[in-house]
Amino acid sequence: MSRAFGFALVLAVSLFSAIGPVVIPADPAAQDLSAYLSPPSAAHPLGTDHLGRDLLARLAHAGRLSLGLAVLSVACAVLPGVALGLAAAWRGGLTDRVLATAADMTMALPGLLIVLLVAGLAPGRIWPLWLGLSAALWVEYFRLTRATARVLLAAPEVEASRLLGFGPLYILRRHVVPALAPPLATLAAFGVGGAVMAIGALGFVGIGLRPPMAEWGLMLTELLPHYHEAPWALAWPALMVFATVFGLQLIASESAQGAGESPR
């Protein structure tokens, strides 16, 4: 039930972010200083910001950027994480030790610090943010994959398939992937939620993306000085971040419970 609600929230935010920029006629960067901080009206359904820019359009464009970047960063963390985790579990020995040490070293640095280091290379650009997030996030997927695969590869079911003559690809497809997919999906859902928060937080402290680019965290920063004049303007981006993260959390925690129900 709450899972369906989570899906509905995430779907609503995704659709708004994907279709919004196309169908909303207003330009997110067009300033109209005469309509400064205007309340919701027919022309501006969500009102305008301190530079008179249409908030609805900015919110949709920002969503495309925030969500897209979060999904891209997590995808780029899952792929190497899973591949390296499988390599460590499969090869064992030196490969495993080298990869596990690299993972431990990454974990020893606070995640935001890694993003800051990479983002510092080219401030205000999108790619360092994406690269930095992926570099901080891959470890979780590596550890999950390594732990799951290591137990499974030594289990009777895999022993049986090996004795019956099946190769590594079959073992991956029939044994490893079905066991790995549910916890990986859960972790990735949490991961996207976390990345949306991180992008917002980085934008808010001015290290992530820069104005006039529309991004939820950045919108919060820009609107914060005008809190007393137009509190509703600040509510929109906050609501978007909340809906996205809360929806993803609902999806992830429900599927984690589902995975816990089956003992094997």
């Binding site: 289990a155 009777p156 079911e157 022993e159 049986a160 004795l163 003559g165 029939r174 094997r264």
Partner: protein, 472 residues
Amino acid sequence: MTRGLAVVDLVVRARDGTRPVDGVSFRLAPGVPLTLLGETGSGKTLIAGAIMGTLSADLVATGSIRLDGRELLAAGGADRRGLWGRRLALLPQEPWLALDPTMRARGQVWEVFRHVRRLGVAEAEARTAASLAAVGLAAAARAFPFQLSGGMAQRLAFAATAAGEAPLLIADEPTKGLDSTLRDGIAALLRRHADSGGMLLAITHDVTLARALGGRAVILRQGRVVEAGQAEHVLTAPAHPYARQLLAAEPSAWPEARHPPLGRTVVAARSIAKRYGARPLFSGLSFALAAGETVAVTGPSGAGKTTLGNILVGLVRPDLGTVIREAGGARTRYQKLWQDPPAAFARHVPLGRLMDDLLRLHGIPRARLEALLARLRLEPALLGRAADAISGGELQRFALARALLLEPLFLFADEATSRLDPITQQETLALLAETAAERGLALLIVTHDAVIAAKMARRRIVVEGGEARVAV
């Protein structure tokens, strides 16, 4: 007040209306052991749960359970927990899992004297020393559980359970997974409890244990008592057909396996050695298996029986020595059956799809699978189910069918029936021996049951204490 346990018309109801225990009555007097005998699903563990008060929330017990005149079913949860360890105690299954791995042997018994019996520190220490000496563990008082052998761990678990001096001792499957030496040890300890005037309720599917305990025996099937009486009578000349079937499934009652003429050698070990960490399992072991031959591997838990079989099928390399397989014999013609059938199949996938994968990989005609299923008395409809949705006996026959599809020369059965009920165990092993004889394949069986080893095999390999030898 009458001393003893009286169970009258006990019914355990599940939420869906079924009755896994359906009107069971028996009396247990001090000094006379009572054994509840039955297969998995006969309701015997639920009866123990109803007596202890540990049934899960979706089960409801009705009827009457009186311990020394006091009605237990009417008592509340806290009252019943207050009886645990003091009036009634449960001896844990698989003692090495029940002991605290971080506590020395002495402490595990001492805490019962100190905190359950509430004795003074000095007295608890004295009683602990006496109790450990009584089970022959005086020298191991300072040892941690991982430093104890299986038999010692079992005696320690018994000492800790008995320290509460509860008059009623319930032993649920006390011999599960134990070899015959350990089984005799636990039977002697349980008998001693009854002989000293305690009440003993043993719950088992092990007929040998029931016989060793004596006293009274109750045979259960599908939640009902099918036969009850003096153990020596019930266990030698039962009246009910199911009871007769259960006794006939006891390994000692099996017919001798017929041994077909031996063929060429299919696998040979040349002075192989293997260590587990720093501990040697065996070294300098040489033997050969011929087509049509059955060899049993016996020895205590953890001695290296499975490792030896895994070396022969090629899952594990020996540290020293070589394994010679028949020239031209493909690696897939050396197959294995596992102890826990569901663990040996990919999860959540219908068995039919797994079989199709195998047929496709090796280009095996489908007719061969159909013939095998018929031979192993498996309904083709079962192919539509996943491994965890069919019974253990059926699944182990599927595992056998899967191995036989590859026309093996050698089959390694690793405790392949030890998790099955006695009747299913006998059926499965008989079928395994028959098909092995028909096809002339060499069979290596690992078992902790010396009687099964003697019935099935002419030769034995004993793995024990860091060495292995071939015995006839």
